[in-house]
Symmetry: C2
Subunit: 676 residues, 2 copies
């Protein structure tokens, strides 16, 4: 006998008529609404939360609708009138001003006064006798007066008296805008319909939306070649990182590295004496996830790094890699947190037929899972206590979904400003699920999207669909794991192209340096995306002053990002046609639009490409009949354009991209003092 | 102080980790799911109910998933294994066999045995030592054996013994398909996840999906010109209607017609003596919605009509027009069911500045609404008792939504086979809402969709989107209210074109006759869509034997519909390119596809049009390398086609359409007896 699943029936018709018979309005298709409200939408402080819904009733009566919202813990709703768009679609918006969960829903009702007023206007226009209509209006106003008090009540009673008096004065008053506004304050909401869900929007601080990441290995920061860098060396590197304009410095795991099955240089199975191992092989006799690798320094050094970084407006982001080496203290202290093989040994990681004997995955299904989860939560809280507020989760898609939703919620109870980046390069639905569960930002497929059609399709999906309500892309042209073929074969121009794309397509982006700015592009072997002599397995000494470093270029791009609000959000991204498949063009704008950025990028790192760019007639505030100035913020060159079609040409050997700021007003003779 | 709305918070995160930590599977995006399960999907008896969902978990473990379903009132679920498609999408299907509500949901779990089996295969292929893996497999099998009984338990224990024995036999048994099938019967579902909604599918009888309607005015059925036709005359007309192949005979309201403000011929305000009024002006001293207009005959006559129709496989459909004339008994018996004007008079219908003083709308919001609703329900039940099971609701979009959901549900409790057609020509979201609320079929915009792009767009929306799960189109080329301009100006070919389109695009369609088959096409005035001397306001005498009647053509089209199952559903509709904008082509097929119909229609009623038709390489079972026969069921001509592109030519003066049945097998020399 199979066990019958226990299920809750929630979709029995709830409005079966005889209990809510007089509530005539239907509210449908509310957006945003992620998975029927199971997950919250996302915004950052100061962003606008626009809500739309289909709202309609039977018949031809006029409706009124409100968007209701409240912060978690506040019981009183704030009410915002919604406006009809077309085709029974309505919209309202509010600005979210605080970190934390907010709730919103929609309420609507048949508005008898509005209906009456529209009918009156039409009848008057058709010259009909409206004596009875005026009395009907007076009745509605008198009912509203009973709901009002003070001056408003007095005014309403005054209006109703007029409507019961001389017809021509009555008509004029009945159609008076002031009366309509007053009546709007005292609607008859007895049979108002409220949408059957309170939907949630989770608000995070601005950095969730706009951040500029730099990843480096502290052990490669030593001044002397061959020496093991320390957190102090890393602290010395802050001016360099800040000089390029980064505001998040992300460190691979800084915990003790295991010895058993340690990998050697270039990931060979047998480490040689002196090989330092991978920072992601966490745990040794010196400690686990709450300890610092002794060669990096002390907890005090770490706290000093955090404090010094703050002076440069840089936040330290730590890596959360919940996995253990065979030497991790958990293995002996909590063997129940790992899966056993039939011989009693602990199951190492594998992806058959591949084996990863240096890593023991934690078993999120184990008998001791509750204790395990609480321990992992305590790891994050520990680093929060040391001043860390940004965490990059390593391979979150190989840990239980429920764990992430729980642990992110728990951490935010104590540290509402904590942010989480999901480092998952996996199937699209899994990536989206992680974002829904609470990750503030997510790695993307940008890394492998190189052509115009790939980029256009992918970023249209990310920014112009429901995905934009829960998934915040963070774009990485490279990582310690990924040296793409585009970078391997495109030379320095390829690095510039990918940097501009990442920094302008994504309000959140990051690079793994100094490999990136030094244009490191040699793979371990042909066809591999691994770096040769990867920093994951050995200490590197980078020559930061090397000729050709993109340091200054990156600094300029990041300054452009800071100075142009349009680039600090992904919502407004739109692609524009160029009649050359090697050139991609897109724009971002502020809502006003006081700040409009148009990026034009040559995707071909080898040849100069040119073409005609088509800008849209609407949306960018462009007047196609007037000349306007395009100011290339990368080169400071200014171009005079007119109309929708303009010529662009990009030489990858100088700068493969232009980041234009549109400046609409062109000076004219009238602006000349003597003109008048 | 504004009243705070009372709301239920249902979207607090429910899976907060520590209560369901070991349930790792996510189930998302289940289809069909109408408005988060608020409304049921629709099917008819015998149809397949295909359900899809995104199903995935963290990591790389293999999953198993079930589609669960049960009929209302049955507590036990039937379980159907779901199969993975691509991109984490899964599908399962069941056939609905009974009228009434059914529930369905999805269950899935991490399948440790399946995971183990896949891993074993890969390790064996890589030549790895699998001794421990075999023991791990034996453990899983032994656990399953405990869940099994009888022969199955014995078999499982036998398998586990083998897995603990000689390695090469163990490997072979571990990968044995028989073991996999056996293990699938006893899965470990302790941490299975069941989708959090039970979704509903409402099943109606086949006629909801496939029906052929004929509308006529009984009062125009008299044998003698000028005489008032009766229900007996209407009964005499049955062989004529059946001869054309119709199976639903829909009558405009048959109730007593009011006298106050009765409209004259051609809808003039003042009726002349002898004017018969509009059947939709319901109610007089002779009775209301449960009475029969005296000049039509008696209730006994009506019941005889229903019974006689049945002999021709025709069902009588009645009009539900819930509105009253000032003479309706309700007006004096229940004045509280109508809205009052300030002078105490009853508010007539209006759409300012237009007035309809012959009609009093019922006030669905009135204080007496519960009593009113129950009375209206009793009207429908009364006619059900007389043998009627199909109702066409007049202007349902001007009556409360909640009323329809309630009353349709109530009627179906007693008469599960009752069907309802929504006669709403209104805004799209309102039309869809009515369908969701329970109407079996709906009028559509087909009436005004004439061009290829209009038809393609509209019918793609209706049949290839979620709309197809709740909205069943019923296509009318004309109605007593609508003589389209296409029919006014296109002559007889226009009527043929529109008939073929209605009958092939829509599994449900209807015509208003005899106006249609006699190609009546004179409007009241230029620019009007009203018929001149409309039957709505006067008695007509139709010359059924008139030359040019489409009677035989209609009979042929309807026979084609009956004989080809492909045309009895809208789900498979697909449009195919023709390089001529005046020719539209589309196909329908059965699932097998043993029955494939391709319709090609010339939309230009004035000129012969030709072009090249592109059939798809897939979906119709077409082998582009083989010749195939296209059998035009309208003319019985047979064409030999080959490949995807073939020539079509249609002369509207003969037949403006071809309804091909694809016949794949063409005889060859091998079929000749002496060939071998």
């Amino acid at each position: 006998m199979k066990k019958q699943p226990k299920l809750q029936t929630i979709n029995e018709p709830t409005t079966t008529g005889l209990d809510q018979g007089r509530s005539r309005v239907a509210i449908e298709n509310v957006k945003p609404e992620i998975d029927c409200g199971r997950f919250p939408a996302k915004r950052t402080v100061g962003e606008s939360m626009s809500v739309e819904a289909d709202i309609f009733a039977d018949g031809h009566d006029a409706l009124s609708a409100l968007l209701l919202y409240r912060k978690e813990g506040v019981s009183r709703w704030t009410e915002i009138p919604m406006q009809p768009l077309v085709n029974d679609r309505w919209r309202g918006a509010f600005e979210v001003q605080e970190i934390g969960d907010h709730y919103y829903t929609v309420q609507a009702w048949v508005d008898r006064f509005k209906t009456w007023r529209q009918g009156l206007a039409k009848k008057v226009e058709a010259g009909q006798d409206v004596a009875l209509e005026l009395l009907a209006g007076a009745e509605l106003i008198e009912l509203a007066a009973k709901r009002a008090a003070g001056e408003d009540r007095k005014s309403l009673n005054h209006f109703s008296a007029i409507l019961r008096g001389d017809p021509s004065a009555a008509i004029q008053s009945g159609l008076d805008e002031a009366l309509a506004i007053l009546m709007e304050k005292y609607p008859d909401r007895r049979w108002a319909v409220t949408y059957d869900k309170e939907l949630r929007v989770n608000v995070e601080r601005g950095k969730a939306r706009f951040s500029t990441w730099y990843e480096l290995f502290p052990r490669s920061c030593a001044g002397t070649p061959g020496a093991h860098g320390t957190l102090r060396d890393c602290t010395e590197r802050l001016p360099y990182v800040a000089g390029m304009g980064f505001d998040v410095l992300y460190l691979p795991p800084i915990h003790p590295i295991g010895y058993s099955f340690r990998k050697g240089k270039n990931n060979v199975l047998e480490a040689q004496p002196g090989d330092v191992g991978s920072p992601w092989a966490i745990g040794a006799k010196e400690g686990g996830h709450k300890a610092i690798h002794p060669q990096l320094g002390s907890l005090a050094d770490f706290k000093r790094l955090v404090a010094e970084a703050k002076k440069f407006d840089i936040e330290i982001a730590l890596d959360i890699a919940f996995q253990c080496t065979p030497d991790h203290p958990y293995v002996t202290e909590h063997p129940e947190w790992f899966r056993k093989r039939p011989d009693g040994s602990i199951q190492y990681a594998e992806n058959p037929p591949k084996k990863y004997q240096d890593i023991y995955p934690l078993d999120f299904e184990s008998e001791g899972w509750e204790e395990l989860w609480n321990e992992l939560k305590s790891v994050i809280l520990f680093w929060c206590e040391q001043g860390v507020r940004i965490f990059r989760a390593d391979n979150p898609h190989t840990k239980a979904f429920a764990f992430w939703e729980w642990v992110i919620g728990e951490v935010k109870k104590d540290y509402p400003d904590a942010l989480f980046l999901a480092e998952a390069f996996t199937r699209p639905k899994v990536m989206y699920r992680l974002a829904k569960l609470g990750f503030s930002q997510s790695y993307t497929y940008f890394t492998w999207r190189n052509t115009k059609s790939e980029l256009t399709q992918y970023f249209t999906d990310l920014t112009q669909t429901e995905v934009s309500d829960f998934f915040r892309p963070n774009l990485w042209p490279n990582t310690p794991d990924i040296l793409t073929e585009y970078l391997q074969f495109g030379g320095r121009p390829a690095f510039m192209t990918r940097l501009v794309l990442a920094a302008t397509l994504g309000a959140n982006y990051g690079i793994y340096g100094p490999a990136f700015e030094l244009c490191e592009n040699v793979p371990r072997e042909p066809g591999s995306e691994e770096y040769l002599n990867s920093e994951k397995y050995e200490i590197k000494h980078w020559d930061l002053e090397k000729e050709g470093s993109l340091r200054e270029f990156i600094a300029r791009v990041n300054r452009i990002r800071r100075e142009n609000r349009a680039l600090q959000s992904d919502r407004s991204l739109r692609f524009h046609p160029v009649d050359n498949p090697e050139i991609i063009a897109f724009s971002k704008r502020t809502e006003d639009p006081s700040n409009v950025i148009v990026a034009v990028v040559n995707l071909d790192p080898h040849h100069t490409q040119s073409g005609w760019l088509d800008l849209p007639a609407e949306g960018l505030g462009l007047d196609p009949d007037q000349p306007f100035q395009m100011h290339d913020l990368l080169t400071d060159a200014r171009y005079l354009w007119q109309g929708r079609r303009n010529f662009v040409q990009l030489d990858p050997q100088s700068v493969p991209a232009q980041i234009f700021r549109m400046r609409h007003r062109i000076h004219r003779e009238q602006d000349f003092d003597y003109f008048m």
